[in-house]
Every structure is written in structure tokens, then in C-alpha cells.
Symmetry: C2
Subunit: 233 residues, 2 copies
């Protein structure tokens, strides 16, 4: 597996969104591998997810890398985004491998999530005198989450540059890679996958049947990388 392109921009100081899952953890390791990046600050925003598990995973990953990490609880916004199963009383759907799969998944879309998270990351970057933000949007999510598409990254970057009058760079290096690619990249970079957390349910071990667990399982299989995760089912 080839690592993604190297950054040509030099002297970047990056606020990187970190959820504690495979994608954003691998992103942090990838940013760390880039010679052109001078500073990295990880930012975890708690926006009303059902569980604390992924926040703990995020802290563990940042600590492992020695990267400063800020956690901010913005779960007060829950009433504004309560249409999603991830933040409301709706049950998290068990993903069936049928034609209904995408319809089921749609219940996990948090309205405008990445724009909210990235907007806060941009504010923080300006506060820290940084000049870039990063998030782990990737190709496998593009069907269901429009804010993971490359067109969004470009449109968002344009809005940010106009709205702040500052040359903030928006990095989404995995936007053309799928989740199996990310597992391969992470494997080469030595990401401790066993410390990451994907399950939407947030029990003591991964449930194995929510859409996020299924995607995690499949990514390891497709990547040909051994999956260190213990699943309930």
C-alpha cells in the first residue's frame, strides 16, 4: 500500500478533528508522518454521542503520540441536531446487508455535522495562530454523508477563506481513499487499532452489528490486515 500523496504545502500548523475511531486516529498518525507539518493539535468535540468510549479512545491516541489534545463538550447543541439516531432517543439501527442498508444508515446522519465541527476547528486554528484544519473524510462515506465529499471540502475551504480573510488550508487527505485503504495506511504507520473505538452503541466491547462496527470489520477484511477488535456478535 502506497501512503497518500505527501503534502506540498510547507510549515502547516494543523488542528485535526479526532473522534477516536480508525479514520481520525490514522489521520493523526499520517499528519505526524509529514515533514511539512510543524505543529499538530488534536480537537475532540463531544456533540451528544451516546457514549464516552470514543472520547476516551481519542485521549489515549493523542497521548500515545504526544500531541496536545483539547476536548470540548458542545452537547448543549443536541436539540439542534436531534434528528439523528446518534444523538436522540431513536435506536441505533442494526445495519442489514440489504437494499434498505442505505436507508437505515441515513438515520445516523447528523445534520451538517462536519461543517459545525470544522467551523469550530477553524476558529481554534485562528486562536492558536495555526493555518490549517484536518478531518478524516473518506471515500466510503461519500454516498451517505455529503459533507465527506471532495466538493464539500473545496466549497468549505472557499467559504472559510472568504469568511475569515485568512489562508486557512482544509486538509482531507483520505477523501479519495476508502476505509480499507485507511486501515492499510494505518497499519504501515503503526496505528494501535486496538485502542480505537468505532461502535455507535458504546458498550464495554464493540457490538459488531451496528453500521459502524460492520464497516470496521469489513475494512480490516478488505485490507487484509488482522482485526484486533473483540466483537460481541
Amino acid at each position: 500500500m502506497q501512503l497518500p500523496f505527501n503534502l506540498r504545502k510547507a510549515n502547516l500548523k494543523v488542528v485535526s478533528l479526532l473522534s477516536g475511531g480508525i479514520d481520525s486516529s490514522t489521520l493523526l498518525y499520517w499528519l505526524r508522518s509529514q515533514e511539512n507539518i510543524d505543529e499538530i493539535h488534536a480537537l475532540t468535540l463531544i456533540y451528544g454521542q451516546k457514549h464516552q468510549r470514543e472520547v476516551d479512545a481519542a485521549s489515549t491516541i493523542a497521548k500515545r503520540l504526544g500531541i496536545p489534545h483539547t476536548v470540548v463538550d458542545i452537547s448543549a447543541i443536541k436539540p439542534l441536531i436531534s434528528k439523528s439516531a446518534l444523538t436522540s432517543e431513536q435506536p441505533v439501527p442494526e445495519a442489514l446487508e440489504t437494499a434498505e442498508y442505505y436507508e437505515t444508515l441515513k438515520a445516523t446522519v447528523v445534520p451538517n455535522r462536519n461543517m459545525i465541527l470544522l467551523s469550530l476547528a477553524v476558529a481554534y486554528a485562528i486562536t492558536l495562530d495555526y493555518n490549517a484544519v484536518a478531518y478524516a473524510a473518506h471515500w466510503s462515506d461519500r454516498g451517505i454523508y455529503p459533507d465527506c465529499r471532495e466538493e464539500f471540502v473545496e466549497a468549505f475551504q472557499r467559504a472559510v477563506q472568504i469568511g475569515t480573510d485568512q489562508p486557512i488550508t482544509v486538509l482531507a487527505p483520505f477523501v479519495r481513499y476508502d476505509k480499507a485503504d485507511i486501515v492499510r495506511i494505518g497499519s504501515e504507520l503503526g496505528v494501535p487499532f486496538e485502542l480505537t473505538w468505532s461502535c455507535y452503541k458504546g458498550g464495554s466491547i464493540h457490538c459488531g452489528v451496528c453500521s459502524s462496527c460492520r464497516e470496521r470489520k469489513r475494512a480490516f477484511q478488505d485490507a487484509g490486515v488482522q482485526d484486533p477488535t473483540t466483537y460481541e456478535r
Copy 2:
């Protein structure tokens, strides 16, 4: 004074950002005057301003109009935006009418503020099954606040439409009007200016010397509308 253009888009359901100042209060009255608007919901986001006064003003204005109003306290984000005098321990600058005026004012720029507030308004619009958001960006703010410029409104709307895959309209009807125009418009629409709040300091009456108070005074003078405000100085 001619009222701004009428909206040509029909059947809009709008989440409107309401701070409790002159501009956003007039915006609410203006939206209310539009035949094409079916629903209005006011949204006040507390992001770490120094005082509660403008939030109380917002509630009073919304109640006066009989418009539903949601207040969400997102002041947990304060560490992310703490570069601004409005949200940190820096003193609020007394605006001097000198060449340093704009430099002084820059201390009141909250990094990426409008994008953060609008992103949350968009999420709420989707949650409510609404199709528009509105904010009171205006011409007098364009020099110092890049996120009050028409180019930003357009770039943001594009990013939102791509990022949510929904035809959300971003309304900023005052974007080509200055604050004195807004006072004239508000006067024609019967906005109870005495209930609005502008002062950055948040005492029991308007201080009269912060940049926001000075702009309030000047807007009434330039508009030729009687200023009902009591100022300390």
C-alpha cells in the same frame, strides 16, 4: 426609506439568528413582513459573550412577535474562540474616533463566528424540516468582519448546499444596507428599539463608549430616527 427587496422565493421556513441587538431584531420584523415566509423560528446562541443582557433582549423581542425562540448555551466553545475581547479577559476597547479605530475594533472579531452560528442554524433548520436560515449581516460591518460580506454569504450557501445535499437558502437581506438603513427599516416596521441591546459591556444601561454603543448612536443620528436609548456617557 424603501424597505429591502421582497423575497421572490416562496414557502420559506426560516431559522433566524437573533442576538437581541438592533440588526437581528429588525431582521425578525422584516422576515415577519414577508408574505412568502411560512414559518420563522428565532435562534439565540450564547457563545461566551460577557453578559446576559442581549439574551434577555432577544427573548423579549421574540415574545413580542409571538415567534418561537430557542436559546442554546454553547459557551463551552469559549476556549476555542478566546482570541476575541468579547469572550476573553481582554478589556472591551473603547472605540476612539481615530486612525486606530479599525485596529481597536479588530479586538472584537470572534474568529469564524458567523460560520459557527450559521452552521448550527442550518442543522436546526434541517431538524425542524425548514429550508432557510437568516442572519443580519450588513454593509457597515463588512470592513472589519469578513463573514458579513456578500461573497461570504454566497460561498457559505454553496458549501451548505453541497455539504447537506439540501436546497437550504441563506438569507442576509441587509447585506447591502448600512446600520442607519436598518434603523430606518426597523422604524417603519415598528421595531421596539428600546427593548434591544447593543452594548458590549452589559451594565444596567448602555455604556455609550464601546464600539457597539457608538455605532448604535451614530445609526440613529444618520437615520434621523429618535434614539430611545439611555446611555451612561
